[in-house]
Symmetry: C2
Subunit: 146 residues, 2 copies
C-alpha cells in the first residue's frame, strides 16, 4: 500500500475525515527528512493542490497532532515545525540553543514517567510535549558567547 494511503487509513481509523488537503499535507510532512515549518508544508503541498490555503495547513496540523500522527517542535523564537510520528520510535527533542541543531531522544523513560503521573494525579495523559534546551557537545566546549 502506498504511503499516503496508509496514512489516510490511520486518519480514518482515528475518527478524522480523509480529505485531499489532509492526505497531501500528511504526505508532504512524511516525505521531509527534517522538521518542516507551516510555510514549507504550504509551499510543498500547494504544488500538488494549488488552491490550498495556509489557514488550512495550520488547522490540519492541529488535527494531525490531535490524531497523534505528527510531532510539533518549538525552538525559542522560531516558528513551529512538524514531523511525522513514528509509532515504533517515539521521541522528544533536544535543541542546542547555540547552534540550533536538533537531536532526537528516545522516549521510553518519558512514557514511563507519564504513566506514573497518571497514577498519582488521576489525569489521563494523551500527549507529552517535551523539549529540552541546552548546549550540544561541541558548543558547550566553546567559551560563553555573551
Amino acid at each position: 500500500m502506498s504511503c499516503g494511503k496508509r496514512l489516510a487509513e490511520q486518519l480514518h481509523e482515528r475518527g478524522y475525515r480523509v480529505t485531499a488537503q489532509r492526505t497531501i499535507i500528511l504526505e508532504t510532512i512524511a516525505h521531509m527528512e527534517n522538521h518542516i515549518s507551516a510555510q514549507q508544508v504550504y509551499e510543498g503541498a500547494r504544488e500538488r493542490l494549488p488552491g490550498l490555503n495556509l489557514a488550512t495547513v495550520y488547522r490540519t496540523v492541529e488535527s494531525l497532532k490531535g490524531a497523534g500522527m505528527i510531532n510539533m517542535l518549538s525552538t525559542g523564537g522560531e516558528p513551529m515545525r512538524f514531523s511525522l510520528c513514528d509509532p515504533e520510535h517515539p521521541h522528544s527533542h533536544l535543541v542546542c540553543r547555540e547552534c540550533g541543531s536538533i537531536f532526537e531522544l528516545e522516549a521510553e523513560e518519558i512514557e514511563a514517567f507519564a504513566r506514573r503521573v497518571e497514577e498519582t494525579t488521576s489525569f489521563r495523559i494523551d500527549s507529552v510535549h517535551l523539549t529540552l534546551e541546552g548546549l550540544c557537545q561541541i558548543c558547550k566546549q566553546k567559551p560563553a558567547a555573551s
Copy 2:
C-alpha cells in the same frame, strides 16, 4: 528587601541589565496568582510605566526565560503564558484539553531524567520544557464530546 528588588538583584547576578521595564514586568508576573499572557503583562505593567511597548514585553520574557526566572506555558492554540519560577518548587504543567484547567506537577523526576540525558548524550541541559496534555479527573468521566 522588597520583592522587586530581590528579583532585580537575581537578574543582575545572572548578567542581565536591570531596567525599569524588566523590573516592572517581573513584578507584574510575580504578583499574579496564575499564568499570565503577554497582553496581560503589558496591560498590568503599563499602569506603572505608561510608555511601555508590547514588543518589549515579548523581548523581556524571552530574556527572563533565558535567565531561568520565568516558566512559559503553551496550551494548544492559545497564546503563550508566563509565571515566575520558584526555585524551591520547580514544576511542569498538566493541562486538561477539555476544560483547560492547569495543574502543576513536581519536577524532581524530570530533573533526574534531565541529568540522565546529560550523561547519555553529552548535552548540557539548561531548560526542560514539559507540558502534558490530557483529560483531568472530572472530564475523563464524561462521555467523549466529539
